[in-house]
Amino acid sequence: MSETILQLQGIYKNFGSVEAAKNISINVSKELFALLGPSGSGKTTMLRIIAGLETPDKGRVLINGRDVTNLPPYKRGIGMVFQDFLLFPHKTVKENIVFPLKMQGKDESTKEEQYQWVSQLVHLEGLDERFPYQLSGGQKQRVALARGLVSRPSVLLLDEPLANLDRELRKEMEIEIRRFQLELGIPFIYVTHNQEEALTMSDRMAIMRLGQLEQIGDKFELYHHPQTSFVASFLGSTNAMQGEIKAVDNGCIVVDWDGVSLRAPYKDDFKIGMTVDYFLKSEKITIHPPGQKPDDHGRTVIEGRLRDTIFKGQYADYLISLKNDNEIIVSDVPTISPALRNATVSISWPSEAPDVFPADGGLA
């Protein structure tokens, strides 16, 4: 990994009795780093602390090795893209974009040069004299990005930047923002509550919950090897089950889930009789057409009734009712005819597919 640009060291922040940050330490290098979490998780507070809009109760913020913890925002030299864009309504596109340069007292030729560079980068040519109310949502987004980047900041912060865009535009901007990050080679720190967005865009990510860091790392790592119940249930489309460990057999455990047996890999702290949470991403399950029964060697195999099929194009979600009155969602290639509604089918998954944790881990 390349050099660290931004360091958060042991950050604490309370708002009254609400703990918005509890001992948060994060290092970010020249990468796209996502801060993901549900609302109230403290991710926006972290971003505001980096920006200098909040002062931490404890801990330090370092940018390029310089301690900026007590610097006001306007002396930190960072860029930021705000939620709802927050363009200045009384300034034109160009005035909005060169605002940071104006504040730094840059001369006209520098402003012009930087403006030309950034407006080409974000594809905003020809809108110079427009006012924000004359722009479409996508254009506003580009102006907000340009304003964040124009002064070539050492870090760019993005606060739910795509939350107000429609789906098509969001997909387009996700790719664009990645491109900007590669071109500029500075850290982008990206706050979102949308896991899909975080997974698409980031290199690494951190998941926050109730002011605490749940897990931090490579996005594949987090997705496939979550270390907490929360991360396991939060990322992806996950079936959450709970049951008691009935047996340990051949490096595997067998969990009894309301009368259905589930298999999972053995871990050191597992004991027979322990209640565990059993998380299973829906795409790790295979659905088998009626009549076909897979080999149950090293797999969990269950029968159920195909209650409904939700066709999504590239794949389909199958809702399977089990005999214990629970339901499992399976995402698989859409090979099974919707006409087979209510047919009995088999579903199966490899023993190493689920993520299992002792149940007192506390599920959100």
Binding site: L53, P73, Y74, M80, F82, L86, P89, H90, F99, Y133
Partner: protein
């Protein structure tokens, strides 16, 4: 409304081109009234004084109102409403009763001067019927307008924009002049006009607080309709006053760029 507001004003304009002789109006078109007003030294001095006074009172109100309106809108929280109502409540008492009250404070035998005399000190001359005293009085009378106008504007101001400015390198002062003031300029301009216009025409306050030397244009205007009965000249004065107000409004309006007011901004 048209009938009862515009027509009387037009009548005043018409009469200003007639003349009055021994308390009756003679329908005789002439511009003598204006010639007198614009050439006679005394009238110009009074007009100049009124303009100066109105400018000073407006400036003082403006500078004083901004931090107060800002504080109420920004930090008032759930007490916003009480705080702002408290600034405008005295306005409803009516001019004459408030001037009475003011005389008891800033007047020659107001509490401040009586206290000084009782302590064996010299009374403050500024309170002895002076332009200073009437200026204070006028600020007292009209500052609620300024505060209210700026406050109402700030209510619809998105304070988050200040964070944007700061993150982008603006110091608090720069952020104020780059973002806060321009986006609340219409409200401020309305406040300026609402204070300037009545101050320009003030007659009661200077009469009771300003004394003989503190007389302003409004006083001699009132005089024409009182003792001397020279309505035509008085009307001409009214027209002059009206035009000065219009010019002031126009000048203030010139500083407003609607496109840059943020009003058209919708839901940005």
């Amino acid at each position: 409304m048209l009938f009862f507001f515009v027509l009387p004003l037009l009548t005043t304009v018409v009469i200003s081109f007639w003349r009055t002789e021994s308390y009756t109006i003679i329908h005789d078109w002439n511009i003598d009234n204006y010639v007198v007003l614009l050439t006679k030294h005394t009238y110009l001095v009074f007009l100049g004084r009124s303009i100066l006074m109105a400018t000073a009172v407006t400036l003082i109100s403006l500078i004083y109102s901004w931090p107060i309106a800002y504080f109420i809108a920004y930090a008032g929280g759930r007490y916003k409403l009480v705080l702002v109502l408290l600034t405008s409540a005295p306005f409803f008492t009516g001019i004459i009763l408030r001037v009475t009250a003011l005389q008891q404070i800033f007047g020659p035998i107001g509490i401040i001067n009586t206290a000084l005399i009782n302590l064996g000190l010299k009374p403050i001359n500024a309170f002895m019927y002076s332009n200073f005293a009437s200026g204070m009085g006028l600020v007292y009378l009209w500052i609620p307008f300024m505060i209210l106008a700026i406050y109402l504007s700030l209510l619809n101001f998105n304070f988050d924009l200040l964070e944007v400015a700061k993150v982008n390198g603006a110091s608090p002062i720069k952020a104020f002049f780059e973002v806060t003031l321009p986006l609340n300029w219409i409200g401020t301009a309305v406040g300026i006009v609402l204070v300037f216009v009545p101050t320009l025409a003030a007659s009661i306050t200077p009469r009771f607080l300003g004394g003989v030397n503190g007389a302003l244009f409004g006083n001699i205007l009132a005089h024409q309709f009182g003792a001397t009965g020279t309505w035509a000249l008085g009307s001409a004065m009214g027209v002059v006053l009206f035009f000065v107000s219009i010019i002031a409004i126009f000048l203030v309006w010139k500083t407003v760029d609607l496109r840059r007011s943020g009003f058209t901004g919708g839901d940005i």
